[in-house]
């Protein structure tokens, strides 16, 4: 297509959007609704995944020794941890450190510890593995060693979030698919109006020797422009909403929670999100037009 022809068709497409203001607006609203819901799911899943990565980096396994365990027994456990190939690193928390930590947590209420010494506490090891997926097997190995009171690991959290991401993805695919179909349907109805308004014109174009594509393009451009405008508005709305949420969350209480490490900044993912919006918006518009052309215009 020549540039001059493209300009002509772009103009035609935009004029038609303007002529069908109401339906164009309805189409655009649907595009916006679908894209924003898609975006919310994407961003939610992304944040979960990023948080999983963070959690995976945290010490996954904490091993508590029996508090009566003697020096010999503790060294025995430490040796077992040190020699395990799955272990990336570990730290020891002595009874003293545990007692201090307890005092910190209790703050004003630390009187309850009055009369007790660190002897009531346990030595613990915080172990970080290379691959968090190894933690169940690692835990099993450790459990066979004498003198261990209890083992805790964050794998449960990881597994929970992994399952959550899976379901979020599944549900979002389902909902977004439905919305996309509805959007395409509404866009195709918008284009139908233009097609009907221009049926006679299309007939004349054919008599004068216009090719099918020459006739189709202005309608397709009309759909694509609706899709792109919709995706731009969706992006503006999504990024505004996300930024508000993100700054509230990242400066607020959540930040300090143990498992939640904060939300991803939009700067990092914004351009990708926009590209996704633009591509899907364009495809929706084009498909909507083509569906309509196939049905109502035998070209």
């Amino acid at each position: 297509m020549k540039l001059s022809t493209f300009r002509l068709m772009l103009k035609e497409g935009i004029i038609n959007i303007y002529k069908n203001k109401l339906m164009s607006l309805a189409s655009m609203t649907m595009v916006i609704a679908s894209l924003i819901i898609l975006g919310l799911f994407l961003l939610f899943a992304l944040n979960l995944i990023v948080n999983i990565e963070e959690i995976k980096k945290q010490p996954e396994v904490t091993i508590y020794c029996d508090h009566e365990l003697d020096e010999e027994g503790i060294l025995n456990i430490e040796r077992a941890i040190k020699e395990d190939e799955r272990v990336r690193e570990y730290t020891v928390k002595t009874k003293q450190e545990a007692f201090e930590f307890m005092k910190d947590i209790l703050e004003e209420n630390k009187d309850v510890l009055e009369g007790y010494s660190e002897e009531i506490m346990m030595v613990s090891f915080e172990v970080s593995l290379y691959n968090p997926e190894n933690s169940p097997a690692f835990v099993e190995t450790m459990e066979s060693i004498e003198g261990i009171w209890r083992i805790k690991y964050s794998q449960e959290v990881v597994e929970f979030i992994t399952r959550l991401v899976y379901w979020v993805n599944l549900i979002s695919i389902f909902i977004v698919a439905i919305l996309l179909v509805i959007s395409v349907f509404i866009i195709s109805n918008t284009i139908k109006l233009t097609v009907f308004a221009r049926r006679k014109e299309v007939g004349i174009m054919k008599y004068v020797g216009a090719t099918d594509w020459f006739i189709r393009w202005p309608f397709i451009i009309e759909g694509i422009v609706i899709g792109i405008l919709g995706s731009i508005i969706s992006y503006i709305l999504t990024s505004y909403g996300y930024n508000v949420l993100e700054s509230a969350v990242n400066s607020g209480e959540f930040k300090s929670s143990l498992i939640f490490t904060g939300m991803v900044k939009l700067d990092i993912i914004g351009s990708q999100l926009f590209i996704i919006y633009a591509i899907i918006g364009t495809i929706m518009g084009a498909v909507g037009s083509i569906v309509s052309l196939r049905k109502h215009l035998k070209v």
């Binding site: 007939g203 004068v208 020797g209």
Partner: protein
């Protein structure tokens, strides 16, 4: 230029609109296709444009074998000639200028070329002053002249007109015929389907007469009624 070889057209409802039509039109000719309403003139024109497919026989137009033409080739066949209809078929929301330019935009002519050719075509049909008007602001004769400017703006070597004066009064009709004659003088082959006696008689051109889909006369410098 145009050749029909034993062409028949049977519509789905059983109507036979053309029977075994055979004729040839040479380059530069001016030909009337005549006959009463329903005799098959429009069917003949539609078969040339491949708006309808001939049931039997072969049609050649401008080096295209119309009867074997692929669907996608139809636009190129139609660009090779200009067409004018009884109902003008102008785009109502485009100006006279844009209506004519439209035919060139479709073939993706250069904008520069469009700006050069459109005024020339409008001048030929004597409508330069109405370039900015819309079709509804024009008389029937003026609208038909716009349609003719559109038909010739790409300089086709063939112009086909189906009842071009059907909606016009006798004086305006003669004006349009004069214009067609002038276009013919410039070397364009012209084929006009009509049932109007007076315009045929005024021109004394070749006449192909149809009756119930059969060619019953093909006469050089003929009249509407066979006087031979």
């Amino acid at each position: 230029m145009i050749e029909f070889k034993n062409v028949s057209k049977h519509y789905e409802n059983g109507t036979i609109a053309l029977r075994d039509a055979t004729f040839k039109v040479e380059k530069g000719e001016f030909v009337f296709i005549i006959g009463p309403s329903g005799s098959g003139k429009s069917t003949l024109v539609k078969a040339m444009m491949k708006e309808e497919n001939a049931t039997n026989g072969d049609i050649y137009v401008n080096d295209y074998k119309v009867t074997d033409l692929d669907r996608r080739q139809i636009p190129y066949l139609r660009r090779s000639f200009g067409v004018v209809f009884q109902d003008f078929r102008l785009l109502p929301n485009k100006t006279v200028y844009d209506n004519v330019a439209f035919a060139m935009q479709i073939v993706e002519a250069m904008p520069k070329e469009i700006r050069r050719q459109v005024p020339m075509a409008l001048a030929l049909v004597d409508l330069s002053k109405k370039a900015k008007a819309y079709p509804h602001q024009l008389s029937g004769g003026e609208q038909q002249r716009v349609a003719m400017a559109r038909a010739i703006v790409n300089s086709p070597c063939l112009l086909i007109a189906d009842e071009p004066t059907g909606n016009l009064d006798p004086d305006t009709s003669l004006e349009i015929m004069k214009l067609l004659d002038e276009i013919n003088q410039r070397g364009t082959t012209v084929v006009v389907a009509t049932h109007e006696k007076h315009i045929v008689d005024s021109m004394k051109k070749r006449v192909i007469e149809l009756e119930k889909g059969v060619i019953i006369r093909d006469q050089k410098k003929g009249f509407y009624k066979n006087e031979a």
